[in-house]
């Protein structure tokens, strides 16, 4: 407990400097902005803004990028409730009952419930990071190359289990990502791989170019092909923000349950905000005394998922910060951002750079507090933003993608590459191949190859090293069990139902 307070003290000392407060606020504002606007997600935004953090202190850059991620969870609920359009995939389920509440004239109460539940969940999840991270990092420090390889394999397989849709396709997307990660100069033999004699490719494909291409440009194309969606804004004037006493007594247990579920699912590789909110909605429907109220404006259907998505967004930082293992695509980007600043992600970050680590954790709580202010009293501003039609928005996003890519790599070749990845990203969307596992594979690919080669050198080429080391063996067995479980038809159908429900 003493350590806990001392660590948080270190963190708040960093996070409360005026500059870092400013970056947390900037991140939270941008996050809310893109959260409110449908069609731009946190992945593309963080990738676009990576170049802006080049000149910053590493901790300031990471504070801002983290703010964008959890800010988007808050903002996503606003457009879900008011326009029935999810600003983010994690707020898809908030549409169901949140928008019904707005139709019943309870828009203010729904918005307040979403914001308060998110804030509560954010607080709990931040405390959880502060408590769980040190012991986990300690475990991580005892890991050698075989353990790391096994852990990454487990992470990738878990990402498949939790992805939507076909398992085989998700694995194929991971393998594709692993392959893309190998493009460039082989670190051990200095030979060129898959570079087609392009000098610009010898350093490998820039991470943000792939992310902006697939998630930014690809999403724009996909949105445009879907044609214009009519939006009906349901908020002439939001008068009463406070929920009634009855609503509060229904909402707070739901927020508690959502927080617990989200915090748990967020830690799992492949988990995070989206899965948490879906899970929470299904759970609320199950525990409700009268499930028929759901879909007609049940406040638990707002409080539960909104708490869950924010808790999941926060706790997904745990494996990233302690083990250097990204559980979802946004965490993969955060690792990319760390590497840009010359920080090797892994368990040593906490001991070698305590101010960076604890500063980031502390800033998350501050950022959550800021978001409460940004979202409740200032709701009117965000409502105005919702009126910007997509035909203007896509031009702006497209331009920012182009400039973002150019500034990251200082080459026009990268912009063309991003355009190609955009087409690829659109093809993925059309063929129901989820690109998020690919990004995970892309980030982990070079690390896995490196650890595999090192493990083989330790053992003299004997693959039994993975069996003889108990931790590595345990992780591999866990991965195998997961794979068998998803392959079983009965569980697969249950999983599909879980994703479709709501």
């Amino acid at each position: 407990m003493e350590h806990f307070l001392a660590n948080l003290g270190t963190g708040f000392a960093v996070a409360l400097t005026p500059a870092n407060l400013g970056f947390a606020l900037t991140g939270a504002l941008i996050g809310t902005l893109i959260g409110v606007l449908p069609g731009i997600g946190p992945i593309a935004t963080i990738a676009m803004l990576l170049p802006l953090t080049f000149h910053l202190e590493p901790v300031s850059g990471l504070i801002m990028l983290a703010g964008i991620f959890y800010g988007a969870q808050y903002g996503g609920s606003t457009s879900a409730i008011l326009v029935n359009l999810p600003g983010e995939t994690s707020s898809v389920v908030t549409c169901i009952d949140g928008h019904q509440m707005a139709r019943n004239g309870r828009a203010g109460a729904a918005l307040a419930t979403a914001a308060l539940a998110s804030f509560f969940a954010g607080t709990v999840a931040t405390a959880m990071i502060a408590m769980l991270a040190p012991p986990l990092a300690l475990v991580g420090q005892s890991f050698g190359a075989p353990e790391y390889f096994a852990l990454m394999l487990l992470g990738l397989i878990a990402a498949v289990v939790l992805a939507h849709g076909s398992v085989v396709k998700a694995i194929a997307m991971i393998v594709l990502g692993l392959l893309l990660g190998l493009v460039g100069t082989d670190g051990q033999t200095a030979a060129q791989r898959f570079t087609f004699d392009f000098v610009k490719l010898s350093d490998g494909i820039e991470f943000s170019v792939l992310a902006i291409g697939v998630f930014g440009v690809g999403e724009i194309i996909a949105n445009l092909t879907r044609g214009g969606q009519s939006r009906s804004l349901l908020a002439k004037r939001i008068t009463r923000l406070m929920p009634t006493r009855d609503e509060i007594s229904l909402a707070w247990p739901a927020a508690l349950r959502g927080t617990a579920l989200g915090a748990l699912l967020g830690v799992l590789p492949g988990g995070g905000a989206t899965l948490s909110s879906f899970g929470a909605y299904v759970m609320e429907k199950k525990v409700a005394r009268d499930p028929s109220r759901f879909g007609k404006g049940a406040i638990e259907g707002v409080a539960g998922p909104e708490a869950a998505n924010n808790a999941g967004a926060q706790t997904s930082f745990i494996p990233m910060l302690t083990l250097g293992l990204p559980g979802n695509a946004v965490m993969a980007l955060m690792i990319g951002a760390m590497m840009i600043h010359g920080i090797q992600p892994g368990p040593q970050v906490m001991t070698e750079r305590p101010t960076l680590f604890w500063g980031m954790v502390a800033s998350m709580w501050i950022g959550n507090l800021m978001l409460l202010v940004i979202n409740l009293p200032l709701i009117g501003i965000w409502v105005q933003l919702l009126k910007v039609p997509y035909r203007f928005l896509y031009l702006a996003v497209l331009l920012f993608c182009a400039i973002g890519v150019y500034t990251i790599s200082n080459s026009t070749f990268a912009v063309i590459l991003a355009a190609m990845f955009g087409v690829l990203g659109y093809i993925f969307v059309r063929l129901d191949c989820e690109p998020a596992p690919m990004i995970l594979g892309f980030v982990l690919g070079p690390l896995m190859e490196d650890n595999l080669r090192r493990a083989m050198r330790i053992s003299g080429g004997d693959p039994m090293i993975f069996v003889n080391r108990p931790i590595a063996l345990g992780l591999l067995i866990a991965a195998a069990i997961l794979l068998v479980i998803v392959a079983l038809p009965s569980i697969r159908s249950g999983r599909e139902r879980a994703f479709q429900e709501g």
Binding site: L178, L179, I220, L395, L398, A419, P463
Partner: protein, 172 residues
């Protein structure tokens, strides 16, 4: 069970199969894997102890090909729910869907080619002028307003604000 043949009279059943997402995805994965194997045909594989440049890439390509084959077979064996005959709406028109794909891609490539010689402002004009064809909803006047507005915004954020060294105008 039905005797009146394939779901669509004009469409050959084999052709119909190629519209299935899993069939197409499987073929896509197989094609990518085959391409990867072909490119890496001369990469030294080495031994398990000293893995060469080609060891991991070729392993992954074979894995991807296998996975692609599974997806393809799943797609072929899929039992499709009988689809009600629908009227063709403009929404179904694959050609119409190509419009944003082409406009967005070409606008980005043109922007990339223009940026270092024509400067930022003219490149934004090029990007907006091409990208506007991605949708039919943009009026000419709106396009012009968007181009001007975006130029000012970009200048304010990236050049005045962040001081990025991008030339604003052509250097002649």
């Amino acid at each position: 069970m039905t005797t009146d043949g394939p779901p669509s009279a004009q469409e050959h059943p084999l052709l119909h199969m190629f519209r299935r997402k899993n069939v197409l995805s499987g073929l896509m994965f197989i094609a990518i894997a085959a391409f990867g194997l072909w490119v890496s045909r001369n990469y030294p594989i080495g031994t398990t102890l000293r893995m060469g440049t080609g060891y991991v890439p070729r392993l992954l390509c074979w894995l991807l090909m296998g996975l692609g084959a599974i997806v393809l077979v799943q797609g072929v064996l899929e039992t499709e729910p009988p689809r009600p005959p629908r009227e063709r709406s403009p929404d179904d028109d694959e050609l119409a869907k190509l419009r944003p794909v082409v406009a967005v891609t070409v606008s980005l490539i043109a922007f990339a080619l223009a940026l270092e010689t024509l400067g930022l402002v003219l490149s934004i004009l090029v990007l907006v002028a091409i990208a506007r064809f991605a949708t039919r909803e943009l009026k000419a006047s709106e396009t012009l307003a968007a181009a001007v507005g975006l130029s000012v915004l970009t200048w304010a954020i990236f050049i005045a604000g962040l001081g990025l060294p991008i030339p604003l105008w052509p250097d002649w």
